[in-house]
Point group: none
Chain length 207, copies 2
DNA sequence: CTATAATAAGAACAAACGTTCTGATTTATT
DNA sequence: AATAAATCAGAACGTTTGTTCTTATTATAG
């Protein structure tokens, strides 16, 4: 008997996907894999599905699963490291996938000031905002106050809704904001991305 | 006459793609877009191709271009609310491009603990690490200490290099780490991504 | 060698596909 | 009201699709 070497097929497909960002049809897979019969290609695909590398998207076409992209760093680098890291290399867009659920209603917003520093939101960060105006108390929202956007925590007391900063040290500088008549909420804080500002030159000595 | 509102179609497709990770067939696009005639769907697709949001993969199927993933960046003042108008081009950026310069040398790393909280790095964040071992003093590095990854600030005094935490409040809990004989640096902190934990539901999907 | 299961190929088919054509309806402008 | 372009719909085409069936070839264990 033999053992079908799933992984040689998988490898070729992974390389193809890295290039073309798409899983091809059975016919094209046959070419890619040097398999003469589509039926056999189909068989291999079935195996890859059983192993959890592929799955059927609505409509029947194939798409990669998360296993398809799996690659543990520890293996490549150092055997036996307890914590795993995630390799981003094969599929760049996974960060985008991870962060954004409704692209059409999402905008990025640069943060100014340190009024939300206690939540780890720093000046220069890009906040991910999803449009919507049904907010819960305690949620971080992007509100419009005096025709300017401001990122604050939505709060409420007997007098009604208001906006709170989150900067304990400078709480005096960031008093709660009570809207004149109506509180206009533009969207919700869904997360953030930050680009570290590196020290200008990398002159350090090698270790 | 009229103006075909490309962006309403594009938005629906972007949301669909975020869910299903695939561009569907013309037939399914018709359903998604509520268009009765596949011919008209085909027309809209042509327009999206002309605008550079879609392209044909080998084999003829559609795939998203990099423009497809561009996100709108908002501004401080309300004046130019991002309404996706044609006349005023909003600023766009791709999250992955923005964050990652060298995909092949970049990994993501989940943060545990609050030892770096003063730098706005919280538990649950994903730190972006670029491999390399030439570090500058003051830089945040991912080091390997006792066979575990740890994120700390690289420092140096007359005795040599060591690692510092950044948590003023609990500085007693995070003493500086002096490597036994050799300090092994895995990579540098290049930024981070954070998914806000919303009140109620939605725990993160796997990356 | 023989038996057996994995591997490979081909033929065939209904369904779905991308595309083109032709015609109807809507819409804004004159 | 008349016009012209944009929008929408339906039908029809040849091709590719995913899938199943049947049959040949290989490799290994007994």
């Amino acid at each position: 008997m033999q053992q079908l070497d799933i992984f040689s097929y998988l490898g070729k497909l992974q390389d193809y996907y890295a290039r073309e960002k798409i899983i091809p049809s059975t016919t094209q897979l046959s070419v890619l894999w040097n398999v003469k019969a589509r039926s056999w290609t189909h068989q291999i695909v079935q195996r890859l599905k059983e192993e959890g590398f592929l799955e059927n998207a609505p409509g029947g076409r194939l798409r990669p699963t998360s296993r398809f992209f799996e690659r543990i760093v520890g293996h490549r680098v150092r055997a036996g490291l307890p914590q795993q890291a995630f390799d981003v290399q094969p599929e760049l867009l996974r960060i985008d996938d991870y962060l954004i659920e409704k692209p059409s209603q999402t905008i990025l917003f640069p943060v100014r000031g340190d009024s939300m520093i206690d939540l780890g939101i720093l000046e220069g960060d890009m906040v991910i905002i999803e449009r919507g105006n049904i907010a819960s108390i305690g949620q971080v929202v992007l509100a419009i106050v005096d025709n300017e956007f401001t990122l604050k925590v939505l709060a409420r007391d007997q007098e009604g809704y208001y906006l709170e900063a989150r900067n304990e040290k400078r709480s005096a500088d960031y008093p709660s904001i009570r809207p004149g008549h109506k509180l206009e909420i533009y969207g919700f804080y869904m997360g953030l991305i930050r680009k570290a500002h590196l020290p200008g030159h990398r002159s350090g000595s090698s270790l």
